[in-house]
């Protein structure tokens, strides 16, 4: 696992690194320390990271503009900050977790456990997703999203207004930060339960799901059963 720590106070950065090493042991491949967001951004371009641990208050830089920026990346972002009053807002921007300072080792263990558990759905409160288009960061409200579709290693968010946005996240990571009402109906599809119209299977035995605007999507058999028990009780 490759971790990027963005923190402007060296003692704290080293403390984070120390705890990560203790918790992850062999799973940890590299730790990169950066003091500013601009230097962090440069590093991101050349290196692959799995997780970014980010201090919200970096030497006078506005925490949220950098949050909008950093959440466009493919990796998960965990905020490590003393500004606990910003936690709710941070979650709305799709961060994976928010660790308040001063932190301790158990808090990091909890975060890493959730990171490694594929099924571990949390009470994510993400409201916005950010994406990068023509080198500019854009924000979309997830209420505007119809469904998500895998596109290579990325995810395409199909918007209700007919446009689509290419997110720099994998389906797995996206699933982890989406609120409960988003359901992974297929290896390549995530839909908002509220926009499901009907589901069933065709003559050929293929499971299908129809959205309210009649979009037809493939449905995983396991999810079909789950949905059936949920809706036909």
């Amino acid at each position: 696992m490759n971790i990027l720590i963005v923190e402007d106070e060296p003692p704290i950065a080293r403390d984070i690194e120390f705890i990560c090493r203790e918790v992850l042991k062999d799973k940890l491949e590299t730790v990169t320390l950066q003091g500013t967001l601009s230097s962090a951004k440069k590093i991101i371009m050349d290196h692959k990271f799995d997780l970014c641990l980010l201090d919200l208050n970096l030497n006078g830089e506005n925490g949220f503009s950098l949050l909008e920026d950093i959440t466009t990346e493919s990796f998960h972002t965990v905020i490590v900050s003393a500004y606990t009053e910003k936690a709710i807002e941070a979650f709305e921007y799709g961060v994976f977790d928010f660790i308040a300072k001063p932190f301790d080792r158990p808090r990091f263990e909890k975060m890493f456990n959730r990171y490694f558990s594929q099924t571990g759905k949390n009470e994510a409160t993400t409201k916005y997703l950010s994406y990068r288009k023509k080198n500019e960061t854009h924000i979309i409200n997830i209420d505007e999203i119809h469904y998500f579709r895998a596109a290579d290693t990325y995810v395409l968010a199909e918007l209700k207004n007919g446009n689509s946005a290419l997110l720099n996240k994998t389906m797995d990571r996206l699933e982890q930060i989406l609120p409960d009402r988003f359901l992974r109906i297929h290896r390549s599809y995530i839909v908002d339960i509220n926009s499901i119209n009907s589901f069933g299977h065709d003559a050929g035995g293929k499971y299908k799901l129809y959205l309210k605007d009649n979009t037809e999507l493939p449905l995983n058999r396991k999810v079909y059963k789950e949905l059936s028990s949920r809706f036909h009780k």
Binding site: D8, E9, P10, P11, I12, R14, D15, F18, G35, T36, N57, N59, G60, S81, A82, Y83, T84, E85, A100, K101, P102, F103
Partner: protein, 573 residues
């Protein structure tokens, strides 16, 4: 303006049956006849023996400025008297102005004079009344002639007036005139007293003081003639009265302009005011033509009205009321209604309305000031809470504690020192947080402990150089501390050590402070505008703290460029 006035006068006079140089006076009415249209001809000395040449008359209106040069003139008009006399009253001719030596002829007979027409400069009397017996004013055509010798170039400046009628009516007219003069003066005196009381007893709004002065000057202008009459100074020479009146008028307009410029925050006041004063007082040192006065009137009017419109545009409270008041005052009533004897209340009305609108404007401003003051107090209060919390609130404390945790693991000895610095900072903040002014030495101590603490946190060396000659001078608390926090946030690169300077210099009663640093990150700040940096909470706090504690006695400015971050604060003792 004069042209318009002329036309208005012309049409109004049509209805007064007083066209040309012939007037009709009805003895059975109570009216006073204003005589303004004359014929004139210029004559050569010796004056007395000179008889008008009936072919050389030109038209002359005594309200008109300026039409007669220096020299001697015959003025003539004809009065057709009709009806019969009432008992025990005489007819009189009242002449105000005509600031020169003259002799009055009634039907070719001298009935009075002002000064000695033949001798060289001789005192001229400002106001004269000449009487005519009943037999002299029997029904029929009569001839009024004035032999006028003008030896003063300012002749035409004064509002001349010649009135014909029963003497008792002239007296009544005068009494009515004085009643309104005194009444208006009373309004101004009351306004002056109220403004003075508001100034001394309430908010020290400069506008009150200026307006009190304006009101006193105005009151005096309205009292001029009643005083002259009351003290029986009617023989006071004409030019003294006129000079006094002009001087008062000049001071009055300078004060009005000052009032508008100061109270309504007109931009470029430091340039406009001296120009205005210069233009206003010029005629008191040089002989200038009447048109200069016209120019002065237009200049002041334009300045005031455009200034006030600008203030309205900028939403300065009270400027609409002030514009209405000033416009009413600036209306050239005397020109618009030249030749018409206006009822006295019409002549007093502009001044009374002016006082009303200006006081209204000032009270609107005071209310606005009060609101802003409340607002400032509220902001400071919030900032204070914010600031107090800044050091006791989670992020500062938690970050510091997190850092200490790391030190304990890595360098326990340094951790002890670190904790000591944190304790010291808290101790100082608790000591000063509730004070309104603290010795500069305490503030420096606080800055030093903050920099020490931040050196631990950032693992760099921040130093503080000070040059303080009077450590006991007082400043509002946490100003330098806030500025240093601000500097730490914006001026330094990660891992960059640096140096702050706090310097104090004393110049007479002004203590100057400069807080600076040489952080390496300033270069990257270059493209950020000053305003953008100013938005920060820190500078806002400093400004409002200074405003709250030493309003009007401080100067605060700052400069950020690629080599120096510097803040200058001057405080008047």
């Amino acid at each position: 303006m004069q042209l318009i006035a002329k036309y208005i006068t012309f049409f109004l006079l049509l209805s007064f049956q007083a066209i040309g140089q012939n007037y009709t006076f009805d003895l059975t009415t109570e009216n006073l006849q204003v005589l303004s249209y004359f014929r004139y001809q210029k004559i050569e000395a010796p004056l007395q023996k000179n008889v008008p040449n009936n072919t050389e008359w030109k038209a002359y209106n005594i309200f008109e400025h300026p039409s007669l040069d220096l020299g001697s003139f015959w003025l003539e008009t004809e009065l057709n008297i009709i009806g019969s006399h009432r008992e025990s009253d005489v007819i009189a001719i009242k002449i105000d102005g005509l600031g020169s030596r003259y002799q009055i002829y009634w039907d070719n007979e001298v009935i009075g004079f002002n000064g000695d027409i033949d001798s060289l400069p001789h005192p001229d009397i400002a106001f004269n009344t000449f009487y005519l017996s009943q037999s002299q004013t029997s029904a029929g055509k009569h001839n009024l002639r004035i032999l006028l010798h003008i030896d003063n170039p300012k002749f035409s400046w004064y509002d001349n007036s010649i009135v014909f009628g029963y003497y008792s009516n002239i007296l009544n007219g005068r009494d009515e005139y004085y009643a309104f003069q005194l009444g208006t003066a009373g309004v101004y005196i009351t306004a002056a007293l109220i403004c003075l009381a508001l100034f001394w007893g309430g908010s020290r709004h400069r506008g009150y003081l200026i307006f009190a002065a304006i009101s006193l000057i105005s009151a005096f202008r309205f009292l001029e003639f009643p005083i002259i009459d009351y003290l029986d100074l009617s023989t006071i020479i004409f030019w003294k009265v006129i000079h006094l009146d002009h001087l008062l008028r000049t001071v009055f307009w300078i004060l009005i302009a000052m009032f508008v410029l100061v109270v309504f925050k007109i931009p470029k006041i430091k340039i406009l005011l001296p120009i205005l004063v210069l233009i206003s007082i010029l005629p008191h040192f040089f002989e200038l033509t009447y048109s200069y006065y016209v120019f002065r009137y237009y200049f002041i009017s334009l300045l005031l009205l455009s200034g006030l419109i600008n203030s309205i545009y900028k939403h300065i409270r009270g400027s609409i009321s002030a514009l209405i008041g000033t416009t009413i005052l600036l209306l050239p009533l005397e020109d618009i209604f030249a030749g018409i004897q206006l009822p006295q209340y019409v002549e007093s009305a502009p001044d009374i309305l002016f006082v009303f609108f200006i006081i209204l404007a000032m009270s609107q401003q005071v209310r606005e000031d009060y609101r802003l003051h409340e607002e400032a107090l509220r902001i400071t209060h919030n900032l204070e809470k914010e600031l107090l919390r800044k050091n006791i609130q989670p992020h500062f404390l938690m970050n510091t504690l997190q850092s200490i945790k790391s030190y304990i693991r890595e360098k326990p000895d340094a951790a002890i020192e670190f904790i000591q610095a944190l304790a010291e900072e808290f101790r100082l903040i608790n000591k000063i947080a509730l004070e309104s002014m603290i010795p500069v030495s305490t503030e420096v101590e606080l800055c030093r402990s903050h920099l020490k603490l931040m050196s631990f946190r950032k693992e760099v060396e921040y130093t503080l150089n000070t040059r303080i000659s009077s450590p006991e001078e007082r400043i509002p608390p946490m100003i330098f501390h806030t500025l240093i926090e601000n500097g730490l946030t914006h001026a330094f690169e990660i891992g960059e050590s640096g140096c702050f300077n706090i310097e104090q210099s004393v110049e007479f009663d002004v203590i100057k402070y400069s807080i600076s640093n040489n952080g390496g990150r300033l270069k990257t700040l270059e493209n950020k505008s000053k305003d953008e940096i100013e938005e920060g909470l820190g500078l806002k706090y400093v400004r409002s703290r200074l405003e709250e504690n030493i309003s009007g006695k401080y100067d605060f400015d700052y400069s950020f460029d690629d080599t120096l971050w510097q803040i200058n604060i001057s405080i008047k003792r």
